[in-house]
Symmetry: C2
Subunit: 414 residues, 2 copies
C-alpha cells in the first residue's frame, strides 16, 4: 500500500534527535521512500492516499529489546528487592511460573500492552517455545530468541535436542517480521558444552544472539571467586557437592569473538574492560531499568563513556509491574535523578527506537528513507505549541499515555 | 449511615504497617467505630448494611498533602530541569499560568484524577482563590491554604487586603470537610511585614500553616549569601537595584516558633539544624518526588534520621505530569533506587496516609476506631495469595491502577 502519513511533529530519531514540524512520510511496499514537509509531499505525490494527524507526534515504533512473554502471568509472583531472594522465589514457585491454563490469555494481553504503548518491535526471549505461535501470528515485528539454559552435564544432550527442536520450529515461521534467533541464558546457568554448541549454531544464523550478562553482584562474585549466593544456590538447591563456575568472565566473552551481532542484557556489574569489549565488537547492551531496580536496586550508569550501543527493554512481567514502554521511559527519567533532563529524555527515546533497532539488527527505528515503515503516532496536541521546543522530547515522555496508531511495514496494526 | 465495609486485605496504616485479612470496619456517623474480622462483625451487628469486597485492599484514603489546583492546566507549560529555568519560564508565561477560560474544566479533571488514584484528602494551596468554590463543593476533604505571596513593599497593603478577602471567603465555606488555612509562599518571595501579619492570623486559626521551604540550592544561596539565581531574578526581572533577602533561614523559622502545626514543603536543601527545628516542633515535611526531580534533580534524603513527620504530595501540574498519587508512589519506589524496597514501600504508603493526615491535622489516615471513615478500596486480587506476604505493600504500589471505591466520612464519593 502506498500512502503519505503526516503529523504535527516528527521525531526522526537520528543521532542529533531532529524534530520536524508538519512531517510527511511516503510509504511504499512497507518502506519509507521519502520524508519531507507533508503538504509538499501531498502536492508531489497527489495520487497517493494521504492522512495528516493533527496534534500528533509521528516517530519510529518503539523497540522493546528484551522481554519474556512466557512470564506474562507472573507480575505478582516473585520476591523483589534482592536478586538472590528473587531467584529463590522463582525456583520455589516454578509451578506458577508458567500457569499454562491462562498463559495464552496473558501473552495476548501483553502483546496488546506492547502495541498500546507504541511498541512495534520486540526482542522476545523464549525459554520453552510456548509463546512461539502467538508471537509469530502477532502484528509485532519479533526477533524470537530461543533460549538455551541448563547447567547439569547429564542433561545437556536432552536440553540441546529440545533447544534444536524449538529453534527449528521457530524457523518454520521465519519471515521479514519474525526473525528466529538464539539466546544464551547467562554465564551462571549454562554448561560450557551446551553453550559451545549453541554458539556454533548462532554463527550460522543471520540474527543477533542475546545473553543475560552480569546482572547481579552475585553473578560477578560467582564467576570471579566461585563463592557467594550462587555457591549456596548450586550446593543447596541443586545439591552439587563442589560447584564451580563454567567460565571466567573473559572466557565467557570469548564465545562472542566471532559473533556478528550480540546483545548483552542488564550488565549492571560490567566493568570498563567488559564494556570496551562490547563496544569494540559493536555489540549492544539492553538495559531494563525497572527490572534492575526491583531485582538489584541499581541502574546502568548511563554516564560511563565506555558504554556501547544501549537499547531499552521492559524485561518480563516476572521482574516488572507491566510491559508498558512509556512507563519504562518515565521511570528511567525519574530513576536517573541527577542526569540532565533534556538530554536524558532524548537519549532514552533513542534507546527505545534507533538503538533498539540497531541492537536487534532491524532496519527500523528511524524516520529515514529506506527504513521499514514501522511507525507510531501519539496524540499530544500541547507539544506543538511548547514555549521551549528543546523540551519537546522530555514532555513527550512525561505526557504520552498510549499510542494513537502503530504501523508495521506501513500497515496499521493499532 | 451505618454500615460494615469488608475486604480481603486491610492496610491499617499504623506505625508497624499491620495488614489484616478479611478486615471489617464498622462505620457510624462518618467515623470508624469498630475494626475486626468481617464475618464476626457481621454477626455482632447483624442489623447493619454490610458489603464485602473480595480481592480488594481496604486502606485509608490517600492524603495528597501538597498541590496547586489553580495550575491544573499547566502540565506542559514550563521548563523543567533547573529551578531557575523553571521559575523564569513561569514568569515569562504568566499569561498561560491560569488559562481562565478552561480553568474550571481543568480543576474538575484534577479533582477526578485525585479521587481515581485513591486520594480523599488534599492540602490545596490556593494563590488566587479561583479554586475555592470547586474545592469547597468537591467530594474531597480539603485543607484550603490561602497563600500569601509578594515581596514589593509598596504592594503589601493591597496584597494583604486581597489575602484577607480570600481567607474570609474561604472561611464562609468552612466545614468538617473544608478547612480554611493559610500558607506563606516561601522565604524568598514574601515581604517580612506581609509574612508577619499572615503569621499573626495563622496563630488564631486551628488549621496548619504551609510554606514552600528550601526547595532549591538557589533559595539557600539567596538566604545565606544574597547571591546567585535570586539576585539576578530580583535585579533583572523585578528591577530592584540592590535586593536583599528578607530573612536569614533562622529568622524565617522563628515565625513558626509558636505555631501549633506547620508543614514545610520540599526541604531538599534543609540541613540537620533546620530539620531538627521541624522535628522538635512536631512540624511536617511534605515531599513531592516528581516535582523535585523535574525542578531540582533531587529527592529528599529519606534515610536522614533527623527527618520529622514526612507526608507525600504531587505538587501542582505546573511541576508534575499529573496528580496521580499512585504514580507518585511508584515513581518514589523507583526514584529511591538504593532504599530497601519492602521497607520503602511501607514507608511511602504511610507518607501517603497516616503521615499526611498528621501533617494536615485531620483525624483520618488510619483504619482505627475513632478516625474518620475516609477510606479507599483497590481491586488487586493477586495480593491476597502472595507467596511472600511481607511484599504485599510493595506489590500494591506496583500494581494499583485506580481506586475501586473512595469514601469520605463513610459516604461513597467514587
Amino acid at each position: 500500500m502506498r500512502q503519505i502519513l503526516g503529523a504535527s511533529l516528527g521525531f526522526m530519531c537520528d543521532e542529533s534527535f531532529s524534530i520536524q514540524r508538519n512531517i510527511g512520510v511516503v510509504v511504499k511496499k512497507g518502506k519509507i521512500t521519502q520524508v519531507g514537509e507533508y503538504q509538499a509531499l501531498c502536492r508531489e505525490f497527489s495520487d497517493l492516499k494521504h492522512e495528516f494527524f493533527d496534534g500528533c507526534v509521528l516517530l519510529p515504533a518503539f523497540v522493546n529489546a528484551h522481554l519474556h512473554f512466557e512470564f506474562s502471568g507472573n507480575a505478582v509472583s516473585f520476591t523483589y528487592g534482592d536478586f538472590g531472594a528473587w531467584l529463590d522465589s522463582v525456583i520455589a514457585n516454578r509451578d506458577v511460573l508458567l500457569g499454562m491454563d491462562t498463559l495464552d490469555k496473558h501473552i495476548c494481553d501483553c502483546i496488546d500492552e506492547c502495541l498500546r504503548s507504541g511498541v512495534g518491535i520486540v526482542g522476545a526471549v523464549s525459554s520453552y517455545g510456548y509463546d512461539l505461535k502467538m508471537l509469530a501470528q502477532s502484528p509485532l515485528r519479533v526477533v524470537f530468541f530461543n533460549e538455551a539454559i541448563g547447567s547439569n552435564p547429564s542433561a545437556i544432550d536432552t536440553l540441546y535436542r529440545n533447544f534444536c527442536v524449538r529453534l527449528e520450529e521457530s524457523q518454520s515461521y521465519a519471515s521479514s517480521s519474525f526473525i528466529p534467533a538464539v539466546a544464551l541464558h547467562s554465564p551462571y546457568s549454562l554448561h560450557h558444552i551446551f553453550a559451545k554448541r549453541v554458539v556454533e549454531i548462532a554463527r550460522g544464523l543471520d540474527s543477533p544472539m542475546s545473553v543475560h550478562f552480569l546482572e547481579s553482584i552475585y553473578e560477578r562474585e560467582w564467576l570471579e571467586n566461585a563463592s557467594g549466593y550462587f555457591y549456596k544456590f548450586f550446593t543447596q538447591i541443586f545439591q552439587l557437592p563442589n560447584p564451580k563456575p563454567f567460565y571466567t568472565i573473559t572466557n565467557f566473552l570469548e564465545f562472542f569473538s566471532d559473533i556478528k551481532n550480540a546483545i548483552f542484557v542488564h550488565c549492571l556489574q560490567a566493568r570498563d574492560k567488559e564494556l570496551e569489549f562490547l563496544k569494540q565488537n559493536t555489540f549492544s547492551i539492553v538495559t531494563c531499568p525497572r527490572s534492575n531496580r526491583l531485582l538489584c536496586n541499581d541502574y546502568l550508569d548511563l554516564q560511563n563513556p565506555n558504554l556501547p550501543n544501549v537499547a531499552l527493554g521492559t524485561d518480563g512481567k516476572s521482574s516488572n509491574n507491566n510491559l508498558n514502554m512509556l512507563e519504562e521511559l518515565r521511570t528511567a527519567l525519574f530513576g536517573y535523578k541527577s542526569n540532565d533532563l533534556e538530554s536524558l529524555a532524548k537519549k532514552l527515546l533513542l534507546f527505545a527506537t534507533s538503538n533498539g533497532a540497531k541492537a536487534l539488527d532491524i532496519q527500523s527505528g528511524e524516520i529515514k528513507v529506506g527504513k521499514n515503515a514501522d511507525l507510531a503516532l501519539f496524540h499530544i496536541p500541547e507539544l506543538s505549541s511548547l514555549h521551549n521546543p528543546s523540551q519537546i522530547p522530555l514532555h513527550f515522555i512525561l505526557q504520552a499515555k498510549s499510542a494513537h496508531r502503530v504501523y508495521i511495514d506501513g500497515i496499521r496494526v493499532l
